[in-house]
Amino acid sequence: MLPSVAILQPSLVRTPLAAVDWVGRQTAKFGDEVGYASALLFESLYWLLLGYWRNQPVRVSAIFKEAVEVGVRAIPIVCIACFATGTMLAMQGIHTLRQFGADSQVVVGIAYSVSREFAPLITGIFVAGRSGSAVAARIGTMTVSQEIDALRVIGVNPVRYLVAPLLIALMFTMPCLTVLANLVAMLGGALYCLAALGMPLEVFFDRSFAALTTSDLLGGIYKSIAFAMLIAIIGAVNGFQVKSGAEGVGRATTRSVVLCIVSIILADMLVTGFLSR
């Protein structure tokens, strides 16, 4: 057996060679995991498209059940977070723009930053927190208690049964949540503007809608679809990799949430860079 403890734990790395060894191993591990995640994504899409003809239909009832769980139940928390974000943007915007005597221009700033950035990002992070962990915990527990084996023995493909409905449910509900998040965040901003600047609500929304173009909104929607895939696949990858026990499930859950949020923020940066060129 090759790896001794010193090689696997960076704090114990003693020689430069061991450090190189460690970096190499971690890179290989990362590559492995990305490969596994892509395979899982393609397998889910495969069952969604062809499952019906391969005795592995992705059931509509399962999709709706997941959609309620990951989408509808997330509405309150997403609304609260986005309302607060919109208000906060208005406060900061007014404070900044007042120095130029242009505080009523805050509307445009809020409309752009919410629709292009904050609505999809906040939605993504909160759905990741709720569902990224729940998925990893559910699949992990099922692995430990042999429920995944039981599924396979019955002839049910676990990816088709557990991942595909979740993936498609997230890909439909995340854009919807993002549209809702847009409106709620702008409402938050509008209410603050009403209080601070005495700007009527209809003026705020008229100016916002005049400034926004379809591509601003679509940019946010595309992002949210990408986030949906990340959450479903990262959650499932971590769940399926659980080897043993309650501790393993706990670790997978934490790892899933952290990876989901980090990858969402990185993906957000990349997509924004790509879209704003």
Binding site: M1, S4, R54, N55, T141, M142, S145, Q146, E147, D149, A150, L151, R152, V153, I154, G155, V156
Partner: protein, 267 residues
């Protein structure tokens, strides 16, 4: 269909590895149709791994596993799906789906493999629960059941499609003696009523002797003996004797190897 002479299970030269460790060494084994075969062995003997190969959950390094005449290491996913209808499994901890009620658990194989209407599925699920004496418990969740009830519910799910092959992983683990004996009775009744071939993996001697037609004793990935209950009882192989009399192993201690194990990877 499969002729009655075809063995229910036939494995030949099965080799299995876990990482670099060799778990099974060229195992050969046959189970006739309608037979109850008990696979016995201590912890780490490879009996759970062997079971996973029967179920098509692990891929062997080499060798073949034939169920009802079909080599499951070679057939397509589609053929395997059809073959799954003929197999039922009761896992050690039951492995009932925790998010579903007992009846939904039993109904799942029916839903996946048949196009029966909802009422028929319900009735069939209740029939299977009657067989294992769990009538009236269909709406409970698995977390609300006792250990013995869990195992019986898992059995009901395993026989939902009237399979011709039934597998049990440690049926008596974690059960009190009475519940354990009841489960043994149930296994015998099922075999008698439906003529299934049954494979039971266990380390419980009493239940093994009670239900087995033949017993295979596995030790460290090798088959020590396959034979009837009387043959196993009469065996004078030291490992089998110590297994039967619950004696600890008395292996020869190799001094050099021992020293090497203690000092390896120290620098």
């Amino acid at each position: 269909m499969v002729s009655p002479d075809t063995p229910a299970i036939e494995i030949s030269k099965l080799v299995s590895h876990y990482g670099d460790r060799k778990i099974l060494h060229e195992i050969d084994m046959t189970v006739a149709q309608g037979e109850i075969m008990v696979i016995m062995g201590g912890s780490g003997s490879g009996k759970s791994t062997l079971l996973r190969h029967f179920l098509g959950l692990n891929r062997p390094t080499s060798g073949s596993v034939k169920l009802l005449g079909q080599d499951i290491t070679r057939i397509s996913a589609q053929e395997m799906f059809v073959l799954r209808r003929q197999m039922g499994v009761s896992f050690q901890g039951g492995a009932l789906f925790n998010s579903m009620s007992v009846a939904e658990n039993v109904a799942l194989p029916l839903r996946e493999h048949t196009k029966l209407d909802e009422n028929t599925i319900q009735i069939m699920a209740r029939m299977k629960l009657e067989v294992v004496n769990l009538n009236g418990f269909e709406d409970l969740m698995p977390s609300e059941l006792s250990g013995g009830m869990l195992k019986r519910a898992a059995l009901a799910r395993a026989i939902a499609l009237d399979p011709r092959l039934l597998f049990f992983d440690e049926p008596s683990a974690g059960l009190d003696p009475v519940a354990s004996v009841e489960l043994d009775e149930l296994i015998l009744n099922l075999q008698e009523a439906m003529g299934m071939s049954i494979v039971v993996v266990t380390h419980e001697l009493e239940s093994a002797f009670k239900i087995a037609d033949r017993i295979t004793v596995l030790d460290q990935g090798h088959i020590l003996l396959t034979g009837t209950v009387a043959e196993v009882r009469g065996s004078d192989h030291p490992r089998i004797v110590s297994l039967l009399q619950r004696q600890p192993r008395h292996d020869e201690v190799d001094g050099d190897a021992y020293l090497q194990r203690l000092t390896r990877e120290l620098t």
